[in-house]
């Protein structure tokens, strides 16, 4: 059994990562999941959150990603994110900006359902915020 698989993180603007990884933790919409080599083929949508990738030498890289989906095959894992940045490049103001925007959008919404969706989204954002900003 191979102990690494090809991990790719792609955003519409560019290809962020294409490397061999030992494991990757992905914030799937049905809960966080860890992908390891020889994973069963899964296709899942992704919630906004943090992807953690461990490469062959054991170093962990973290990326903030924004929605999208993951295509997981035994030998590869491709994350197609709506937008993605490395944790080191993300800053608190940006996340604050997203949160404020989300708040504004929520106020304009009428239906309870939409509001609930937005609340979930806000919750995810604050999770990101806590990860990005070292407490």
């Amino acid at each position: 059994m191979a102990d690494t698989f090809t991990f790719e993180l792609v955003s519409p603007e560019r290809l962020l990562v294409s490397s061999e990884a030992r494991q990757a933790v992905i914030p799937g919409s049905d809960g966080e999941m860890t992908v390891m080599p020889d994973h069963a083929p899964v296709m899942t949508t992704i919630n906004p959150g943090v992807v953690r990738v461990t490469d062959g030498s054991g170093t962990e890289e973290r990326y903030v990603i924004f929605g999208g989906f993951a295509d997981i095959l035994p030998a590869s894992c491709t994350v197609l994110a709506e937008s993605a940045i490395h944790v080191d490049d993300a800053n608190s103001e940006q996340v604050e900006g997203w949160i404020n925007e989300a708040h504004e959008r929520m106020e304009k919404m009428d239906s309870e359902e939409e509001k609930a969706d937005m609340a979930t989204y806000l919750h995810q954002l604050s999770t990101i915020k806590n990860t990005v900003i070292p407490a």
Binding site: S11, E13, D30, M43
Partner: protein, 304 residues
């Protein structure tokens, strides 16, 4: 006959025009490189997206619960044309080409008695279509302030289109933009985005990198879907529309710069030719004047 002074003025004015066009050409060349890089960088995403979409669509087959965005409304009475052009002129026939392509389809559709609505992305297309089809233009998207087109710009347009679709404003949506072949050639293209033209799995092999076919015997394997295939597809298709618009905008940006570069190169060359012609004329006239003066002096001396 223009006087010497007039000629001199004209030469200097053409020279300064040439300076401007040359500067514009160089700016366009620099921007073109950037735009090409952006288009290049965006390619992996749309490729993967296409592959994944084909995969899911294949596994869903002709299911009835496939989203409307993919199957269409079952009618084709109302068409929405999204015409993407540049924000600025001075790029040869670039904008006119796209508009001509769109207008041809537009007229054909109207002749068939269909209702046609238009969304203009970019100022130039709007300017050209406004006079004739002003009433049919639903909206004009302004990207003038945008320096580097980001996915969010495309996403905004995509969401707008999907919103209109859900309100039943149109049945078929076609995207018009210019495909960037190389610096010299941009081909205006019409691409149907709603209902999504998802190719069957075998059909997309040519677009996909070969390595995926070779290395990946499991492509087309039975996937597990989280949450389920239908809702993933429902999530994917709107995103795919945005991706296609993004792709179109990037192609357009590269094409615009390519066209501008060529146009400005031509303009610079034309200005050069004009300067040469004018200089010849100027020198001749000056020579003629000297000769006249000489003749006058000589005949004056002879008369003494």
């Amino acid at each position: 006959m223009a006087s010497l002074k007039d000629l001199k003025n004209r030469i200097s004015s053409v020279k300064s025009t040439q300076k401007i066009t040359r500067a514009m050409q160089m700016v366009a060349a620099a921007k073109l490189r950037k735009a090409q890089e952006a288009a290049e960088a965006a390619r992996p995403y749309s490729e993967r997206m296409g592959a994944v979409l084909a995969n899911i669509a294949g596994s869903l087959g002709g299911d009835d619960d496939a989203p409307k965005l993919m199957t269409g409304t079952g009618k084709d009475d109302t068409h929405l044309l999204v015409v993407c052009t540049a924000e600025r002129g001075l790029c040869g026939g670039f904008n006119a080409q796209i508009v001509r392509r769109a207008r041809r389809d537009l007229e054909a559709l109207m002749a068939e008695g269909k209702t046609v609505k238009i969304i203009c992305v970019g100022k130039k297309g709007h300017d050209m279509l406004r006079r004739e089809f002003g009433k049919q233009i639903l909206e004009r998207v302004d990207l003038r302030e945008v320096k580097q087109i980001g996915f969010s710009d495309a996403d905004g347009i995509g969401k707008k289109i999907i919103g209109l679709f859900e309100e039943g404003e149109f049945d078929v949506c076609t995207l018009y933009y210019s495909e960037f072949k190389n610096v010299m050639t941009q081909t205006p293209t019409g691409q149907r985005i709603i209902p999504a033209a998802v190719e069957p799995e075998s059909g997309d092999a040519s677009d996909e990198p070969k390595r995926e076919n070779g290395e990946d015997p499991l492509r087309g394997a039975i996937y597990e879907y989280e949450p389920d295939a239908g809702s993933i597809l429902g999530d994917l298709i709107p995103r795919n529309i945005s991706v296609q618009i993004f792709h179109a905008l990037l192609e357009n940006a590269a094409g615009e710069m390519g066209a501008k570069m060529t146009a400005m190169d031509n303009a610079t060359r034309n200005a050069g030719e004009m300067i040469d012609d004018l200089s010849v004329q100027y020198n001749r006239q000056r020579q003629a004047q000297i000769t006249t003066e000489l003749t006058e002096i000589i005949s004056g001396a002879e008369a003494l």
